[in-house]
Subunit: 345 residues, 2 copies
Amino acid sequence: MTTIRVVLAGLGNVGRGVLSILISQRDLLAARYGLEVLVVGASDSSGAALDPAGLDLGRLLALKSERGKVAEFPGGLPGLGGRHLIERARGDLLLEATPVNLQHGQPGLDTVRAALDHGMGCVLANKGPLALAYGELAAVSDLSDVDRPRLRFSACVGGALPTINLGRRDLAGARILGVEAMLNGTSQGILRAMEQGQGFAEALAEMQRRGIAETDPTLDVDGWDQAVKLVILANAVLGRPTVLGDLRVRGIREITRDDLAAAAARGERIVHLGRAERPAPTADWVLDVGPVSLPAAHPLARMGALEMGVIYRTDISGTLHATSEEGDAVPTAAAMLRDLIEISR
Amino acid sequence: MTTIRVVLAGLGNVGRGVLSILISQRDLLAARYGLEVLVVGASDSSGAALDPAGLDLGRLLALKSERGKVAEFPGGLPGLGGRHLIERARGDLLLEATPVNLQHGQPGLDTVRAALDHGMGCVLANKGPLALAYGELAAVSDLSDVDRPRLRFSACVGGALPTINLGRRDLAGARILGVEAMLNGTSQGILRAMEQGQGFAEALAEMQRRGIAETDPTLDVDGWDQAVKLVILANAVLGRPTVLGDLRVRGIREITRDDLAAAAARGERIVHLGRAERPAPTADWVLDVGPVSLPAAHPLARMGALEMGVIYRTDISGTLHATSEEGDAVPTAAAMLRDLIEISR
């Protein structure tokens, strides 16, 4: 049995999902992979709790489900976070699930850098550090040729949907000719609910209640969440050094129920789509995010309200299409667990 | 640059696809992976051709496209195959794409055993050896805990569709609750063409003309091709030691155009489906292959004539669904290339 000492930064929907699956999959991890996972530190915006013998996950989950603060947990340290959290907790692996910030990437970016400095592995669900420091972080990830990758981020690009793994591993040897993706559950849920007659605000509130939409939905409905995912995909899969400013990004706030009904009358469906296309085989990629009216039979138009999906068109591997149906944040936590297992073996 | 010396056994649709992509992806393999692939031996049922400096792939492809015999190629050796081919060719890696045989697994099984005996890596597109010697072969594959897996077979379970990779890597940490799959292009093509008014024989002939259906379509339309794929999936992904005799297998020969029209009138579609289900969470898996009438909105009912697909329902990773659209045998060859790249790094 190998024991992995984990520091969990961020106890929102995804972080609580991590706690719940570390409880529910404990026996499976031991039996299938010979892994025992101890959470030796956990943080939220109030501070952190540390326990070298492993925090009581059930008790911590109960506290956070009642909107408690981890600083008030037994062993709690108000204000502890970032580099200090890493130095005090002394873990093997960081699970980073703090909120996305696209201006400065904090607190995630400093926490990740500190963990790497201390030789820890890192698993990210937070896209902010990658959006702002892609080159620095990719150099120590499974995207580089380092023998022992120390950073993985499969949860960043579509939750449990293995968007990056499909593009890099399963299409190894192929040339990708084009990518279409719908990788934002909030936008998808809102558009599909509006087709059923709900208003934008009503549909958004429902997404927030279920823990799919963030309290601040700006990144989702204005397209920036998908734009960051497309930036990561362009760098990691297409091999194109890409920053947010390279993309044309449009949101879905101006889409009305009338627009959706008109699309349906045409045999189409409006989808909040991210695309990477090349006007010619050797031309630069054109990357954009925005609402697109697709034929109803298009695989990304056929998706339900809880699905995300990606399509890769290739030269020798045909067309590969994958979708994931996720009703809450647990599958995103499961993607972090898949990275943890790989990095720990 | 790393040079990989390959022996290609089998020069049917898939083997010719391997020749064509080793030509078309030569520059990509060098630039992206630092790999040069030399085919130092190639065999068909007539014999083999050997060249330690690498056979002329374009010339070999032209010969086989004109239904020529490799024994008549420069350097050709009539009757050479199996263990003798491996001993004479002295390669690093075997690409095995000879026809499936479910009685004795030959000539593939002996060739694979000889290659493993000589320390070569093996990439299989031929399911026969796995169907008959799963345990023996899995022990040296990426399914085992060996440090350096020497055998991969992702082309065996749905061509370019990464059926096994999804189940083992991308759902690592999750419990699989159920699997549904449609992994036979011939059956799918025939049923969808019959919906458009074609007869069974006419639709089958069209599949054969395109190189999707085998000359002997028995394994496809009677369900045995999918049954073998489900056996591999049950062993490799579900962890259930499984042999063909464990499955209930039915084909599509008795499905009529009237049946398909009646399903459509009910808002359903008949799909040749492989399924793994558990009646209760701790009960044994029930495995079957047969025509099933699915609701038209079911992801595997929505697929087109050239698509194959799989659905994994899980406890923590939501529902993962992937489809692959493949118009000929090249994507299956591309799956062999993906395995070659992984095994060579």
